[in-house]
Amino acid sequence: MGLDFTVIPGYLDIVLLGGLWTVGITVAAALLSFFGGVVFAVIALYAPWIIRQPFRLIEWVFMGTPLLLQLFLIYFGLVQIGIDLPAFVAGVIGLGLHFAVYNSELIQTAILSVDKGQMEAARTVGLSRVQALRKVVVPQAVRAVIPPIGNNMIALLKDSALVSVIGVSELTLSAQRAIGATYRPFEFYLLAAALYYVINLCMEAVQRRIERRIAISR
C-alpha cells in the first residue's frame, strides 16, 4: 500500500485537538497523583495500624496489576455499583491513583530521610504532630523528591495513551479516528508518536528547570 503523508493535513486539527486533551489528562492526573501520593505516604507512615494495613493492600494491588486492567475496573466497575462516570473522569482517576501509589513510595522514603531533629524542633516550639508534618517535614521531603516524581509524570504521559481504550478522545483515539476515515494507520500513529515525543521533551525541559531552581536555593 505504501506510505502517503499528504493525508495528514486534512486531519491535523483532529489529532492536535486530541493532543490538547492528552495534555489536559496528564496535568489533571499528575496533580491527583502528586497530592494523592502525599496523602498515601502520610497514611502509610503515621496512620494507626487499622487504617495502614488496608492501605498497604490497596498499594500492593495497584503495583501488582496492569494499569489497563485497573482502568477497566474503574470504568466498568463503578457503573456496576451505580456510579456512571464520564470516561475522562474515570481515566484521570485511574491514572492519578495508579501513579499516586508510585509517588507515595518515593515520598515515604523522602519523609524518612528528613532529619529527625526537624520534627523534634518543630514539636519543641509548640507545633502539634500534624502541624509539624504539614509545615516542616512534608515540605522538605517533597522538594527532595521532585526529580524522581518528574520521571513518574513522564511515565504518566505515556500511559495516558491507555485511556483511549475506555473511549477518551485523547491523542491516541483521535489518531484512530483519522485512521478510521483514511485507512492510513502508519502515518497517523507515527504522527501521534511524534506529538507524544514533543510533549515528552517539553516535560523534560520543565523538569530540568525545576531541578535547577531547587539546586540553586539549596
Binding site: M1, G2, L3, W60, V61, G64, T65, P66, L67, L68, L69, F72, L73, F76, G77, V79, Q80, K158, D159, S160, A161, L162, S164, V165, T172, A175, I179, R184, P185, F186, E187, Y189, L190, A192, A193, Y196, Y197, N200, L201
Partner: protein
Amino acid sequence: MDVDLMLRVYPFFLEAAWVTIQLSVLTALLGLACGSLGAAARLSRFALARFLGAAYVSVFRGTPALIQLFILYFGGPQVGIQLDAFEAGVIGLGVNVGAYMTETIRGAIISIEKGQREAARTLGLSRWQAMRNVILPQAARMMVRPLGVNLNMLIKSTALVAAISVIELTYTAQRYIGSTYKPFEMFLLAGVLYMIIIYATGRGVAWLDRKVRIV
C-alpha cells in the same frame, strides 16, 4: 460477589495467564538482547554507534508503548511487515523494554570503578578482554536487581497487547466483563493471577541476586 461465575470461568483465565507468561518470557529475552546491543552501542568508541544507541533509547522511551505496538501491528502491512498479533506483541514490547534495559545495563557497567578497567589494561588485556573478563562479570551482578524492576514493568505492560486482540489475561478479563457485567469478579481473577506471576518473578530475581552477589 458471584463465586459460581468465577468458578465457571477461571479455567479460561488460567489459559490466558499461560499466554501472558509466554509473552513475558519471550519479550524479556528479546528485551535483554536489544538492551545488550543498545548498551554496547551507547558505550561504543564510535560516535555514530553512540548516537544511534542514544536515539533508540530516547525515541522508544519517549513515546507510548501502545503507539509503538499500533505502528508495528496496524502500520506494518503498509511497509511490508505482516505479523500476527502475538508476534507483533512480542517484538513491539521487546524492543520497547529493550530501551529501558539499555539504560539499566549501561548504568551497571559505568558504575564499575574506572580503576578496574585501567588496572586490567595495564596488565596487558585488550579493551575487549578487559570488558569481558573484568568489567562484565562485576556489572552483571549489579544489574540483576534493576533488571528485575524492568521485568516487573514488562509483565504488567504485556496487558497492552489486549489492545491488538491477543487473548491474554487482560483481554480475557475485558471480554468477560463485557459479557457478564461483573467487573469486580473478573478483575479479582485476573488481578490475582497477575500478582502471582509478579510475586513469583520477584522472588526469582531476589534469589538470583543473592546467589550471584559477592559482597
